[in-house]
C-alpha cells in the first residue's frame, strides 16, 4: 500500500489547481511527516512543431519556466498554511508518447504516492470526450491509491 501522507498534487495555471493546493494545505497542516510533491505535466509539441523550425529544448525551457511560475504560487499557499518548505518539492514532466493522465499515474507509481490531488475544471461532456478530463481519469483509475478531486 502506498503511503497516504506522500501526496502528489497535479497543478497547472488554472484556479482549480490553486484551490486543490489550498485544500491540501488546510487538511495536512497538522499532519506529521507529510510530504508534498507539486507536479506539472505538459504535452509534447504539436505534430508540425519540428517542420516549423521549432526546437525542442526551447519548447521545454518555456514550459519549465511556466511551471516555475505555477510552483511559486502554490508554494506561497502551502507555506502560508504552515507546511514546512522542506516537505515540499516540485517536478515538471513532458508527456513522452503518453497521455497526461498516463504520465501522472506513472509518476505516482514511481514515487509511491498514496494520495493524488487534482482540481476539477468542470468541462462539458463534449470537451471531456475530445480533450479529456484528468480528474475523471484519476477517479476511474485510482485502484491502489487515494484521489482527492477538489471542486
Amino acid at each position: 500500500m502506498a503511503d497516504w501522507n506522500n501526496i502528489l498534487i497535479a497543478v497547472d495555471e488554472l484556479e482549480s489547481s490553486l484551490r486543490a493546493v489550498e485544500y491540501v494545505g488546510q487538511v495536512t497542516r497538522s499532519v506529521d511527516k507529510v510530504a508534498i510533491c507539486l507536479l506539472h505535466i505538459y504535452p509534447e509539441p504539436p505534430p508540425d512543431f519540428h517542420l516549423k523550425g521549432g526546437i525542442l529544448e526551447e519548447y521545454q525551457t518555456q514550459h519549465i519556466a511556466r511551471a516555475e511560475h505555477i510552483f511559486g504560487r502554490c508554494l506561497e499557499i502551502l507555506v502560508g498554511a504552515d507546511i514546512k518548505r522542506e516537505a515540499i518539492y516540485c517536478t515538471t514532466h513532458m508527456t513522452e508518447g503518453r497521455t497526461i493522465s498516463d504520465t501522472l499515474l506513472l509518476v505516482r507509481q514511481k514515487g509511491n504516492f498514496g494520495t493524488v490531488v487534482t482540481g476539477k475544471r468542470g468541462v462539458s461532456k463534449a470537451e471531456e470526450f475530445l480533450f479529456g478530463s484528468i480528474s475523471n481519469a484519476l477517479a476511474r483509475r485510482c485502484n491502489d491509491f487515494t484521489t482527492w478531486i477538489v471542486g
Partner: protein, 328 residues
Amino acid sequence: MIDWSPFPTRILPLLKSHSAMKHLRRQPTIFTDTSDFTRIDYGDIIHVDNRYFLVVGYAKEGRFGIDEQPKQWVPKVYDLESGERNILKLVFHENFTLKLGQLKVTCYRRPEKEGQVLDLVHGNLMFMQGYSVLDEADNLVRVLDIVRGTRLDTAIGRIDCDHETYMSTYLEDFLRRFLRSVEAIILLHHHGFKHGDIRRDHVLIDGESGHYRWIDFDYDFYLPERPFALDLIGLGNILLYILGRRNFRPLDILQNPKMGEKVLETLHVNDLSLLSQDRIFNLRKIYPRLPKCFNDILLHFSTGTSVMYDTVTEFYDDLAASIKQVYG
C-alpha cells in the same frame, strides 16, 4: 513533336504508346524533385525509387455534398516499365482547424506518419497497401496500390429496399465486416498511430474479397489527453450510417412525409450527436425496431450520454457482443 531522347530506352515502348502522349502538345518533363507538385502536369513523369511513373490523372476528393476537387498532390500514375497503375501521394503539408460544434481541433497532414502506417500494415489487407520512398529532394513520396472496390456508403446507398428489409437482409453482413475493420483500427492504436480521417468514404469494400479496407492515413491531430478521440467519433459516425443507411438531421425528419412532426416532436437535444448536435444518434426514435443493443452503442456518441468510450477496444467489445446477441 516530342523529343524522346531524354527518356531511358527501357520506358520508351510504354511511353510512346500511351494515350497521354498522343494528345500532348509539349515536351513531357521528368521530375525527380516533387517539392513543387503544382508544376507536375498530366503527361509528365515522376522518377522515384528507380521507377518512372507517367502522370495520367489526379485523385479527387470532396466532402459530402461538395463537388469533388482534383488533388494535385495525389497523381494517378502508370508505371512505364511494369504497366502497373498506382497512386502517388506527394508531400503536401497543411494544417486546418476542424470545427466540431463549439470545439476546435487542429489537424495536420503528415506524410511521415502515413509512411510509418504503410510499413506497419504491409500485407494486412484491411488497409490500403503501398510503400514510401524519398525523392531526390528528400520528399517522402508514397507509392500506393489502387484498391479496386466500392466505397462503403456507395454500397449501402445502392441497396433499394425499405429499412425493415435492409435490417433483415443486409445489415448483419455490413456489421460483421465493419467489426473486423474496427479491429484493424485497434491494431493501429496499439502501435501508437491514429488513422486520422475515419469517414465512411475512407472505407472501401474490396471488389474481390469483399472485406473492408481503410484508406488515407496522412491526417494527424493534436489531442494530447485523448489522442484517439476523433478516430472514435469517426467509427461512431460510420456505425450510425450503417445502421440508419443515411444520416438524419432534425430537418430531414420534418421534411419526410412518413415521419414529419409526429417523429420530430419525440426528439430531444440529448438524441443528437455529442460534439456537433447536427445529426440524430438515437436511431430508435426513427426506427423503433432497431435492436436496442445497437442503439445503445450509438447513444455513447449522443449529447445525452453519461458514459463515453475511452478506447476503440471498448467500442469493439460492445459491437461484438451486440452482433452476437442479435445474430448469434
